[in-house]
């Protein structure tokens, strides 16, 4: 019942001046006048396409299937035996799209064409009569497949999140001299700032320990000591980064 409410004001807002001036005030829709019958004429055009390529599959429908018209070899059409009233005329073609047009016929046989507006039904935007139905292009029935490209892959936020820290891991040690003890101390301090409570067991650390136990044999004794510490700290920065990224994406 929402509909009626929204539509009612538009109905009241009748373009009465315009309508009456043109003599369309006495319009009675529907087929109750069984007397005279009229003919709706027009022409359909598809720009740049030969007529015989589309004309055999096209036809003209007036108000659904109430009246049917066919196209002539020159693209013109006529729908006969239409009683006075207001009708939506559309050219139907499976390949080309045509905009529908509303045609009003008075009981005296006066015709006028206007834009179809289902919401403001009384709004009059006049169009040429006899109708000129120009195609607005071919119908688009199909969805495009999501194609896969390298750029799509690289621009993916998840991939960015993985690749950027990786780059940092690889590049930063080259830029910063890790052998410089002063630098190392500074870094360790900053790490401590980031992660104040050392005592808390780190899940990822636990997991790496768990899994690296078996592979530890082949790694030999080189695993401990300073290189391990450095690795761990970098892992932390990595986590910090990704956390930040997440926040950004969420925001």
């Amino acid at each position: 019942m929402r509909l009626r409410r929204t539509v009612a004001p538009w109905w009241c807002f009748l373009h009465s001046v315009f309508a009456l001036a043109l003599g369309f005030g006495d319009m009675e829709p529907g087929p109750q006048t069984s007397g005279e019958r009229f003919r709706i004429e027009g022409r359909a055009l598809v720009h740049g396409v030969r007529l015989q390529d589309w004309i055999s599959t096209a036809h003209v429908l007036v108000e659904g299937e109430e009246h049917v018209g066919f196209l002539k070899t020159d693209g013109s059409f006529a729908v006969n035996d239409v009683p006075p009233g207001s009708y939506v005329v559309e050219v139907v073609s499976p390949t080309y799209r045509f905009e529908p047009v509303r045609v009003d016929i008075t009981s005296k046989g006066k015709m006028r064409a206007r834009m179809v507006n289902y919401i403001k039904t009384s709004e009059v935007v006049r169009l040429a009569y006899p109708l000129q139905m120009k195609s607005t292009g071919p119908h688009s029935y199909f969805l495009k497949r999501e194609t896969w490209g390298w750029t799509d892959f690289l621009m993916n936020p998840m991939v960015m999140m993985m690749v950027l820290p990786l780059l940092i891991i690889v590049l930063l040690p080259k830029v910063v001299n890790t052998n410089d003890p002063e630098m190392r101390r500074e870094m360790e301090q900053s790490m401590n700032m980031l992660n104040p409570n050392h005592e808390l067991p780190d899940v990822s650390e636990f997991m790496t320990k768990l899994f690296s136990k078996s592979s530890g044999k082949s790694g030999g004794g080189g695993k401990g000591g300073k290189s391990g510490a450095v690795k761990r700290s970098w892992k932390r920065t990595l986590r910090g980064f990704s956390q930040q990224d997440f926040d950004q994406t969420l925001a």
Binding site: R2, L51, T57, F70, P94, I119, H139, Y141, L143
Partner: protein, 1008 residues
Amino acid sequence: MANLTTCLTLFFLCYGLCSAVYEDQVGKFDWRQQYVGKVLFAHFDSHSQAAKKLILATDKNIVASLNSRTGELFWRHVDKVGPEGHIDTLLFHGQDAVVMAGNGRLLRSWESNIGALNWEMVLDTGSFQAAILAGTQDSVKFVAVLKKAVLSLHYLSNGHQKWVETLPDSDTVQYQAVYSSGGSQLFVLGVVPYSHLSIIAFNIEDGEIMSQRSVAAPWVSKVQARCGVVDQGVLLCVDATTLSLYMLPLNSEEPAELQQVPLQSLDLELASGYQPVLLTTQPNPARPPLAQFFLQLGPDHHVLLQLSDGLISPLRDFQPAFLVSFATAGEKTVAAVLSPKNETVSAKAGGVVAETVHPFLHFFLMHCFIVLLLDHAYDLQASSVSLYSADSGRRLLDTTVTVHLDPNGGKPEKLYVHAFLKKDDSVGYRLLVQMEDHTLTFLQQPGRVVWSREEALADVVTMEMVDLPLTGTQAELEGEFGKKADGLAAMVLKRLSSQLILLQAWIAHLWKLFYDARKPRSLVKNEVTIETLARDEFNLQKMIVMVTASGKLFGIDSKSGTVLWKHYLHDVQPNSVFKLMVQRTTAHFPHPPQCTLLIKDKETGLATLHVFNPIFGKKSHVTPPALSRPVLQSLLLPLMDQDYSKVLLLIDDEYKVTAFPSTKHVLQQLQEMASSIFFFLVDSSQGRLSGFRLRKARELSLTDLSTELIWEVVIPPEVQKIVAVKGKRASEHVHSQGRVMGDRSVLYKYLNPNLLAVVTESVDTHQERSFVGVFLIDGITGRIIHEAVQRKARGPIHLVHSENWVVYEYWNAKSRRNEFSVLELFEGTELYNSTVFSSLDRPHLPQVLQQSYIFPSSISTMEATLTEKGITSRHLLVGLPSGAILSLPKMFLDPRRPEVASEQSREENLIPYAPEMPIRTEWFINYNQSVSRVKGIYTAPSGLESTCLVVAYGLDIFQTRVYPSKQFDVLKDDYDYVLISSVLFGLFFATMISKRLAQVKLLNRAWR
């Protein structure tokens, strides 16, 4: 601004939830078949031998052009339904097909190559009688149209009227035929029944009456099929009461008498009670007709006669011969006959065989006629067609063709022949045979059926989809679970053996694949036959059982669209109503599936049952009960007998119930359940809805089933009439009991399986006072649960009733647009009884929400998608008059769509309200394969929850699959296996390499 934002959100949402077709899926899961209907008129494009066009006009108000090589449509134009579009006649000349439509209202000329109109003329109204092509000086220039009181002449080139003349005494004389022989005169034949014939000659140039006379003919009743013009304007009539032929030269000035020639004098005998039919031919409208003509003396008896020098003589007698037809071709005289195969020639030479060439055949045209000899009593399957020379009646060599016609298709009804001259000047021909069941068969000379079209499918009335049976191995596996356990060891053994069988089948399958792969691709046949039918993994392939208005049943494979079986019911009245029910599905293995078709005569109400196997189309051995009284209602109960067939109850006009099957077991069950079997009857003429219940028999007599009235609702028929009553589909599953709202509470759906939606329309059709009413009535108690009235609205109304909602579409007479309205029923935030629903115990009325929307197109039909478990979101499938089938998400038809989007509504995924419903071409499930005059859409669940099978029928048949929530349970068909596997392999190798590198690095470090 708010409007804009809602539009934008809508726009983005549309992209999110559409279930559109991808371009590479075209024709992969879908197929379309186009039909034209029962052929009324057919013409061959006889321009040249290479011509491959057929022009048809049918009873479905269609003009179409067929490719005679393949049987496919070149073009087809569908006029409006009803008498206003009815095609009265089709004339063909050159490239132009002249069509008279709407009882003489519209005269159209179609350009047969392009499929567009040359011209179209509106004639004055008047009852159409006849139309012919007329010409002068050997060229056809005009179309003459005879109506009840007017004769008009139109130019063939542009349709303009040359002249129009009113006919004298049209209130007493029935003018029925018009004739022209290329001269300057146009004759009109009128009849005053049982009194006299009236003949008027018009000047073709100016329409002036040149002569007018009436000839006494006290026997005459009508002109069509009784009279014809032969030779140089000699009118011939045949009469059954006086058993005579009558002759009258049209050109003679004086009012001569009709010359009587008794049939006996020609050694001819008329079959008793048969109305003889006269068939003449005029190969060129601008030239006089032939002197030869056919006289049909019995249903299978034809005689070829000839008029020469004022004398009628028989040329050849054809018995049995069901159909005869004349055809015209180039320069030599030949002929053809169709006879039962074991008989050489079943036509005996009659009377005099004219050896000399007829003097009037001096023009270089050749006239062949074709006799289709069909013997019903012998063997309908093999009959043969032969050509005979028209002027001598002799049979031509090498023209006999054996024709295999479907013995089930009834009698052949019409024969269209296209004769042409071959390079060696012999006559070749092609045949179009129309059968009683509307089948069109096109035959070429060495007896080959080039194509055949099942035109009965142009008018499908109802259909069902039946699961295909399991294969032997599958059935074996299934059987294992069905049987009772007989010990652990036996079960293990059985399991092992069935696994072995499966393995065997798999190996056989592999071997077949391997074997086929070696053969060239063209040799591998992938044809579907009835023998190879088996259910596929996901139950996506099913058998479509279609019932057509002509009484022909079809079994169609849903995957390919091939007709696997057809069965023509001969004794079906043309105005019957059909109801198809699946009594037993394929799930009960040793028992064959069983469908029952209820055929009800619309006038008498008497019904018959046709029980058949839906997979093979064979009639079942089960004898259905004889129904002596008109049937009011039929009811398929979920109750089953020992053979797993569901019980069908038929209620007759005395409210007595007949059960089928009616074994003792079933009747006992019925007696036990009687108090819970309810049904309803609708009497739309009196506006009465009444509910009944099965009554328990007082004594032990089990056979007598009676009913008792429980409730009655009367909707006053003076104010409104009931146009539709719809319940829910029994096969529907609802997965979720409620909807989770934004605040995490649950709004429970009102899921009443007994709910009926009753739609009424006001009797007053004035646009200010007309209305549409919707009543929701409980079918058990008769309680009116909800009423809604749409003022200033009228039908036609389309309704879908499912789950807890009703969607209907109506015409808003005030705003002149189509509108959708949706009613949704909720129990509230608490469920009264969550375990079971009972109509008798529901104290609270449901909350009803309603919302309406503008739909920017009228619609032809509407249906909702259906899936196995009901988890997938629902879409509405809307058939549009433009031929598209729109898949509209139910999400758009949700009465809870808020006017202003809030946080909660966004969380619930509610689209903000917009008055106009969008129609996007991406939602057209049939893309450019438009289907004309969609009458119904059938939806069936498949084995996959995401997939719903859709068949749209009407003039055309379209089958596809839809995925309302996309394919969430199978890999998409564009799934990138290459990418996934390459990534996997890449990662694998990367690990290997990095592992090695790490080892090397560690080793180096250890050495340092």
